[in-house]
């Protein structure tokens, strides 16, 4: 086996290697945090969409995203029932309400989701056991993954206490819990019946809904039904299939707000910081070893040997620096997930993405640092 000069040279100066790895680890951590929050944003914004059962979804074309919807008439849903393949339809009401914490008495905005409990279209953990509760007047289900500021509702329920709170100054009873999770749009969620919804928000009109769900009969061709509906229904509703519905929500956060851009920029900054750090390390390394490299050139080593050497060092740094970045990011994810109730966790996909970015980062730096090699002129060492 040949002498592993790249590794020996890096490991020879332990303090410098540690600083290099700390720097790369920091850059990796930055990228992990940015990509993690971005993914959490997109994941959390579609938790609700993913939990909905249904084949075709209707929204007002003026609607932006969950919580920022414009209403449309539920007549559009009933019109669609005229299409033979349509099995059933579910109207959904959404509104932000002001929730009063039953313990601390402070108020906070909460997203209220409402539908006819006889046709439950959502598939969250806890819903099945508690759905009958919302048939009672002024009873809501509380999302136990809401942020802590809404009050220790799950704890109180676990102690078999009757939990009473207020939504828009109307007293409600929490009849049970379900699990959905906070999103960037809403820090907390409650769920109730359409009848209760209209009691909580008297300004809302019955029949003007925020989302409509269409269930098709088994074996129906989704594409053709969707085309039929698009031809049949007026242009005051937009018609999505499941994937489009989810993508529409993600696209909103990605494009229509600065959030997606900010996180992409944050990732890019981490990447650039990494390039600068690795370049500094590699450049110093090459500069310090110039007389040695010139000596090797005099002995008959080709230029390509040194290019390979620098890139080997770059890749060793990339892989070794990735490990602390990965570990720190994993820890920070669980910290941030606890603090924000966002679905934030390390995924294999993201780890691979960041590892690839790190290798690219180190190779870019290597490419720049390699230019310094030409300064190693064997004629100069005499």
């Amino acid at each position: 086996m040949k002498i592993p000069l790249s590794w020996l040279q890096l490991s020879h100066e332990k303090a410098r290697l540690l600083i290099a790895l700390a720097g790369i680890g920091f850059a990796d951590m930055l990228m992990f945090i940015q990509l993690g929050f971005q993914a959490a944003l997109f994941d959390s914004s579609v938790t609700f969409h993913k939990a909905l059962t249904g084949d075709i979804f209707l929204m007002s074309p003026q609607s932006d995203a969950l919580g920022f919807t414009k209403t449309f008439s539920e007549r559009r849903l009933y019109q669609s029932l005229a299409v033979e393949e349509v099995e059933s339809v579910v109207p959904i009401y959404l509104n932000f309400g002001s929730w009063k914490n039953p313990i601390k008495r402070n108020t906070r905005t909460i997203l209220t989701i409402a539908f006819n409990p006889a046709q439950n279209p959502v598939n969250f953990p806890g819903i099945q056991q508690n759905i009958d509760q919302i048939k009672l007047p002024d009873v809501v289900l509380f999302d136990d993954s809401s942020r802590a500021e809404f009050g220790p509702i799950p704890d109180l329920l676990a102690q078999n206490k009757v939990v009473k709170a207020e939504v828009d100054s109307r007293k409600v009873t929490v009849g049970g819990i379900f699990t959905m999770g906070a999103s960037f749009a809403a820090d907390g969620n409650i769920l109730t019946s359409d009848t209760n919804f209209l009691r909580l928000f008297p300004e809302r009109q019955k029949g003007l809904i925020d989302m409509g769900i269409i269930n098709l009969k088994p074996g129906a061709n989704l594409e053709s039904v969707k085309a039929t509906l698009e031809a049949k229904l007026p242009k005051d509703v937009e018609i999505f299939d499941r994937a489009e519905f989810i993508q529409n929500e993600i696209s909103y956060w990605q494009n229509a707000t600065a959030i997606g851009f900010i996180f992409t920029l944050g990732t890019a900054i981490g990447f650039v910081v990494g390039i600068v750090i690795v370049y500094q390390i590699l450049y110093t390394d090459v500069a310090n070893h110039l007389p040695e490299y010139a000596t090797l050139k005099a002995m008959g080593y080709k230029d390509s040997y040194f290019v390979v050497l620098v890139f080997q060092e770059a890749i060793i740094l990339a892989v070794l620096g990735f490990l602390p970045g990965y570990l720190i990011a994993t820890g920070l994810y669980s910290l941030a997930a606890g603090a924000t109730a966002l679905p934030l966790a390390m995924t294999a996909n993201r780890a691979i993405t960041v590892l690839i970015l790190t290798v690219i980062m180190c190779c870019v730096s290597g490419t720049v640092a390699v230019r310094k090699l030409s300064a190693a002129d064997p004629a100069d060492i005499f």
Partner: protein
């Protein structure tokens, strides 16, 4: 090759000629700043000779050495090293020539991150077709030959100046070069270790039958030479062989 040589009148091609220079000129700089360093150098080095090249600073000794070693591109005249013409040669040819030459520098220029043995192995690894175990054995044998059998796995920073220079000699001679070029090998050493180092070079080179060219200011080591060449202002002013 022989055909080309026969058309050039000066070239008696004999196998024991290691270096053959004819009317070699060398210039530094461009345009108005162009300065001639070497003037019509004619010099032949034979196999097995120990030659000392001396002369004042700025006389062109080092330039001559780097030209012979293929470290600098030769410009005009003729310079044959191991029978290969280096005037106008491509970089690849220069690199090939270097592989047959051992270099010893004023400062040892050992790789700080490698042990003595690994430093010697770096020179052997250049030559393909030597097995890894053999490379290691040869490196150890050479270090033993230069009297460093107790320091084989030491890093340069824990060796003395003389010991480092011995490792450099072992490295230069490891791949059995046809010629060793040494630039002020004793400059950084005290007189005793300087003397030892030069005698070691002489002895090992004799065993391998290779040519040694030592550039030096050090008058104390002149007696190891078979031949002394003196250079002044880019011209050969003394050659004890002629």
């Amino acid at each position: 090759m022989n055909k080309i040589q026969s058309t050039i009148n000066y070239q008696p091609s004999t196998t024991n000629q290691v270096v053959n220079m004819h009317n070699l000129n060398h210039f530094f700089g461009e345009g108005k700043l162009k300065k001639q360093i070497l003037f019509d150098i004619n010099l032949t080095l034979n196999s097995g000779e120990v030659i000392i090249l001396k002369g004042p600073s700025g006389s062109g000794k080092t330039t001559l050495l780097t030209l012979m070693g293929g470290l600098r591109s030769a410009q005009s005249g003729s310079l044959r090293v191991f029978g290969e013409e280096l005037v106008g040669a491509k970089k690849n040819k220069l690199v090939q020539t270097r592989k047959n030459i051992g270099y010893i520098f004023q400062s040892h220029n050992l790789l700080a991150s490698l042990t003595a043995r690994q430093n010697v192995q770096m020179s052997l690894e250049l030559h393909h077709g030597i097995k890894a175990t053999e490379i290691e054995q040869r490196a150890i044998a050479l270090l033993e030959a230069v009297g460093l059998s107790d320091h084989i796995n030491y890093h340069p920073h824990s060796l003395s100046g003389g010991q480092k220079q011995r490792v450099a000699i072992a490295r230069a001679l490891a791949s059995h070069p046809k010629m060793v070029l040494a630039d002020e090998p004793t400059a950084a050493l005290d007189s005793k270790s300087g003397r030892d180092v030069v005698e070691l070079m002489q002895q090992l080179a004799r065993e391998q039958g290779c040519t040694i060219l030592i550039v030096t200011h050090d008058n104390r080591i002149l007696d190891v030479a078979d031949r002394i060449v003196e250079l002044e202002d880019g011209k050969i002013t003394l050659d004890t062989k002629q």
